[in-house]
Symmetry: C2
């Protein structure tokens, strides 16, 4: 898109997803514009775009605020993710090439290796979360349905969802890795029903983990 507008879009978006702008903070066009040294026009465009994605709420004549998510939102999001990512597995399995399966297996190997290292949680979890995202994205990409990918993207681009691994217990993490391995095994075997089922369970397990953690706060 536009040069400046998409840059500021990315900036605000990253700030929201990383959590540094959360708390239904007000986003005043003029303030953002001067702090970025640009005019209101591209800021406005970026905000409207973020609103369309659901990352900010805008009310007429009252401006934009960072969107908020409660436990019910999270339930909904993980519920839909479980349906859609499971469907992605189903579509991807019969199309998977040997190279793609090898790629997925490699990520599983790396994640298992990472989990065993003596690094602190602060170092390990972001690395694991990154690989987790790559694995999920790859499967979605393999499903060859661009719309499916877009739908899932709009769902998972929510701060808490993006930081899922940060709230995982060691047991939950171990289980997550076993799910991954089993999903890839099922895909390699060409068993799409198996793969889809485990993916469903995998995402629903993540939901329980996140919701439990969230209520504890």
């Amino acid at each position: 898109m536009a040069k400046i507008a998409s840059t500021v879009y990315e900036q605000i978006r990253t700030a929201i997803l990383s959590g540094e702008l959360s708390n239904s903070e007000r986003l005043v066009e003029e303030d953002l514009a001067v702090s970025l040294g640009i005019s209101r026009t591209p800021v406005r465009e970026a905000l409207r775009r973020l609103a369309a994605e659901g990352l900010v709420d805008v009310s007429p004549n009252r401006g934009a605020r960072v969107a908020e998510w409660d436990a019910d939102d999270l339930r909904e999001i993980f519920d839909l993710r479980s349906i859609l990512e499971s469907h992605a597995c189903e579509l991807a399995t019969p199309r998977a090439s040997a190279a793609e399966i090898a790629f997925l297996e490699n990520i599983c190997d790396e994640m298992e290796a990472l989990a065993k290292t003596e690094l602190s949680s602060e170092q390990r979890l972001p690395a694991l979360a990154a690989k987790n995202r790559i694995l999920h994205s790859k499967i979605i990409e393999m499903s060859n349905s661009s719309r499916l990918g877009l739908l899932i993207e709009t769902l998972i681009h929510v701060p808490i969802v993006m930081q899922t691994y940060k709230v995982y217990s060691p047991e939950a993490l171990a289980r997550s890795l076993r799910h991954h391995r089993e999903i890839v095994t099922a895909m390699k075997a060409g068993d799409e029903v198996w793969a889809a089922s485990v993916m469903r369970a995998h995402v629903l397990a993540a939901r329980e983990e996140v919701l439990g953690q969230n209520e504890a706060e």
Copy 2:
């Protein structure tokens, strides 16, 4: 949203969905603005919003065109609809009140009555299509998942999908009505698996009908 911007958004949107703006027509901001007697600013905002919904494609510095959909897009759309609307049935069934079931049964009655009248296709089909949309929307609303509703909305707001009934053969129409009746019966019985299964079949049948018609052209 804004007064003018949302009005023009609705106008362009309706024009696209009704098909009067199809054919990947170019949408020049200035032209739209003068023809509506307003400035480019709200037009621009409307176009970006339509782009976010997928109804128009915009390229940097090159403007907006009405989006196009091919057979593969339709396959994808109906595939995802079948998954999501089926899930809506599953969620809606255990929550359905007697009044809601009665409402759905009433729509089934009306559609069956309409199908039997001697009106010409030109009069009958739009009326049936309208009631069909109400029935599907009601079930989605009953699922009580706002995000699910939004996802489905972004999928079905595509010209050809909106005009599905217009390409139905009499047999396909009859089958569609029987599906509806069976879905409602299953929901009334509290059998969410039954309801979801028929809904899945219902949407996939629509896909075949639309794709068959589309290839024939």
